[in-house]
Symmetry: C2
Subunit: 123 residues, 2 copies
């Protein structure tokens, strides 16, 4: 019997970080250059600590890195995890292109990528 490995991967944190529209908007903003917390917070109706929390989530997911410049902690985008997301989704390309059927060639491949040996604990 094949048991799937449900160990948390980098993808877990990345997808979770991207599930929030505020965080995606922050990434979009950072794509045009680094910015401090105040500047990032300006477009939203949420408090500064809420933005700081979002930034911590993005940082833990490796989507941003933070520097130091006087009192400011400028954030910079790190797109590496986004490449992992793109690569992951890309594995299903044939599926959305070939009309939902007959992906049997992918059978072994996709399963090997996400599965592993039996485990006794969830985490």
């Amino acid at each position: 019997m094949v048991l799937y490995n449900v160990r948390a991967t980098r993808l877990d944190d990345t997808f979770a970080a991207l599930a929030d529209p505020t965080r995606r908007a922050i990434l979009a903003r950072l794509a045009s250059g680094e910015a401090g917390v105040m500047e990032l917070a300006k477009p939203f109706r949420i408090s500064q600590p809420a933005v700081s929390k979002h930034l911590k989530v993005l940082e833990r997911a490796g989507l941003i890195v933070r520097g130091r410049k006087a009192q400011s902690r400028p954030c910079r985008l790190r797109a590496g995890p986004l490449k992992e997301v793109a690569d992951w989704a890309e594995r299903y390309r044939r599926y959305w292109e070939e009309g939902f059927e007959r992906l049997d060639a992918y059978l072994g491949k996709l399963q090997r990528l996400e599965k592993a040996h039996a485990r006794k604990s969830t985490k």
Copy 2:
């Protein structure tokens, strides 16, 4: 002053659904053909109702559709939302390719895509 629109989009549900490794494993399994709940549950140490819950999340995100065949409710993969994910991530491709700097050409484009007018309520 520019306010970002943080309205929930389809991407919200898609990314949230993909953040769980069990659900990604289910999608991988479904890439090789439709399957019932019992069959999908087999590789995991979680209960059948837990799997049913995961399937409901995937269904709400549009990642699967469910049929009916005797007592079974076979699930089929719908990769449409995965294309949206791939397209979204793809917008950052130059960023992970061009060494993290100088993406100024993207400035206007990415921001227009995620922003909107000021809103007074969060939802």
